[in-house]
Symmetry: D2
Subunit: 109 residues, 4 copies
């Protein structure tokens, strides 16, 4: 079993033992992901990134991944496939010769 499948299997096991699938529709999973992303971000509030607490970042990032994997599972997305596809698409939006060394958005390049 691939690594990502293993992670998802554990997440599903956790969910099903608690009978939580009834709550996990894609919209609420996306809402949950946003909330966790906010909690992750809170570790950097009013400070530079060096001052963030690494252990807390770890826990909140794990929560972000959990909901991202659960959402991918809901739609039967292959995580590796969709990320590689998006990298390819972004490569067209951000051609190297224009995007190199600049943080500008693609519509401002």
């Amino acid at each position: 079993m691939s690594e990502i499948k293993e992670i998802i299997t554990e997440l599903i096991k956790f969910r099903d033992k608690r009978d939580w699938e009834q709550f996990h529709n894609p919209k609420d999973l996306a809402v949950a992901l946003n909330i966790e992303a906010g909690e992750l971000l809170e570790n950097f509030l009013w400070k530079s990134h060096e001052e963030a607490n690494k252990d807390k970042v770890k826990e909140e990032l794990a929560d972000v991944f959990a909901y991202a994997f659960l959402l991918a599972e809901k739609y039967n997305f292959d995580v590796k496939e969709i990320v590689l596809e998006k990298i390819k698409k972004n490569g067209e939006k951000y051609p190297i010769d224009k995007a190199k060394g600049t943080a500008k958005k693609y519509n401002e390049l």
Copy 2:
């Protein structure tokens, strides 16, 4: 090479070809993750989850994963390890007998 390592390798390659590491400090990566999580959520706004456009969900979820993986890489986190650790921790916050079938938060169980 593991699946997740492969994904991260491709993300780093994309980043380095554009000389973007200078922008990718953990705080801004967490900011980027929040922005993408918001764009993902936009696909569900004013509608039920059945009405969401699956292809757009796919692309935005891929962006969320991209920044989550890049952030994990910054801290040298092993994604599988941190998610499994968090599942264990959540198992203590949400014991099955109390949490089964309810969407309540752990501090309200």
Copy 3:
């Protein structure tokens, strides 16, 4: 009519001309607010605050306010009253002698 009532009146007028009240339930308004907060934040991504485009910040902040006011209206909250109440409550969580000059969260003071 008070300033805030005036703003809300205009927002409601805009909404009702388009027959959008049917979509504006509190959950989706909170979702919309999150999306707009993310778009606001995008103006600061990969850069310091001095580099943000003031006109874009203005527009996105206006959207944040629009949904915040619409949500307040849904619940019949008086904006001034709820903010002043929260300031009072935060004053107890952050007593001056402990909180002065530090960015720590109340549970770490």
Copy 4:
């Protein structure tokens, strides 16, 4: 003094008593706003809007307003003015005859 000026005056007083202006740069204020928007949204997670706790919604919405007002103040934006301007602009993006009764985004109308 107008209602909004009054609110902002109280927020500034609270901030300055704690010597917090040093942390309140626009980027971190936008980050804080996102975090609070996430906490507001948490009240609607896994449930319909009728089930949300009104008192908690009130407190989190107050926090959202607090950071939105503080950000407006940083840029010397007049809140009423920027919201009315945005309503006007949105009126062009969403003409009544096309937008009436539909939740579609302007680029899909």
